[in-house]
Symmetry: C2
Subunit: 202 residues, 2 copies
């Protein structure tokens, strides 16, 4: 079993459990000297492929989910507030991410955490291109370059290809983490991800 | 907040994660000196109310779920094999359970664990009334009394009322655990159940 490839971390910027996992995944990777490849996707196409819908819109489950988001965040010691509107379209954030990531993965990670924290810790809508560019500027990037990237057909197509590739990998939710071919779905599988890295598979 | 009531443990005998939680829940209750009230339900009506369907029949998610059942069992150190047929109707096991539980909760617990282990550790179908009566006999009960109970309209109605009551409590999946009014869904929330009992809520 190869143990030198990156950990693939798939998430949607509008996913609370994606946010919770995002606060931990790089520390887990670092512990086992494994690079983490962040891969924002769009849950819309994933839900379409798997016949799912946003948790929050499901009877009974939706009410539970809102409570579980908050409680699991407290359990993990992560700042969280339920944003409104929720969920949101995250194609602008995801496009900006890939554009930045091609140039500087560390800066892309900083930008991603800023997006997550702004939406889920401060409750501020991050769907708009202007907002995404502002957050990228906070992460040290050029605002106008980001705005141009977001509306660039090449970058749009890049995100589309990433989403299509994730579907081929079987990614149907967020977070979805692949370690050496083994898939883990959910922030509540981080303990299994760690055990898998520790043991090389159990 | 009252801390003297029982822990309500809702599950379907055909639920792998219900089985996994079943192997742990009484030890957790004992640790915090809390009684655990086992409440078998039928996922069919719960899925209808919440717009869900069995995990296994969902595109992408079904394939993942089968892998996750096995892996999570290994992670927890619990014997498991994917039974076939799966899922199965569990009204006979649930009816027998309530009939036994009204007479002897300890024996009902033993019977429930026998059902779970037969289906998920040995992979043997437990849907039929004859099989359920045989398993009850193993747990020290009278085979013919169990067969009579399973087809008794009073016992059938008892299960129906338990299922209806669970829906009113918002139970939409298995396992579903309620501690002092706080609901926890999934075997992967047992750590939060423990923390809740430890702290009286967090």
């Amino acid at each position: 079993m190869p143990t030198t490839g990156p950990i693939d971390f798939y998430f949607d910027f509008s996913s609370p459990y994606g946010y919770l996992a995002a606060t931990r995944i790089n520390a887990i990777g670092a512990k086992y000297e494994r690079r983490v490849k962040w891969r924002p996707i769009l849950l819309g196409p994933a839900f379409k492929a798997s016949g799912n819908s946003p948790l929050i819109s499901q009877p009974l489950k939706g009410t539970y989910a809102e409570r579980d988001f908050r409680r699991t965040a407290r359990f993990m010691g992560v700042p969280f507030q339920q944003p409104d509107p929720f969920p949101i379209g995250t194609q602008n954030a995801a496009r900006a991410f890939y554009w930045i990531d091609d140039r500087d993965p560390l800066q892309a990670h900083r930008f991603a955490m800023t997006c997550f924290a702004t939406y889920f810790a401060q409750g501020i809508d991050i769907s708009g291109a202007e907002k995404v560019a502002e957050l990228a500027a906070h992460a040290g990037l050029d605002r106008d370059e980001i705005l141009a990237a977001i509306s660039d057909p090449v970058v749009k197509d890049r995100l589309k290809r990433e989403v299509d590739a994730s579907l081929l990998k079987g990614v149907f939710g967020s977070p979805y983490i692949i370690v050496d071919g083994e898939p883990f779905w959910g922030a509540d599988r981080l303990d299994q991800v760690q055990a898998w890295l520790e043991t090389g598979g159990f």
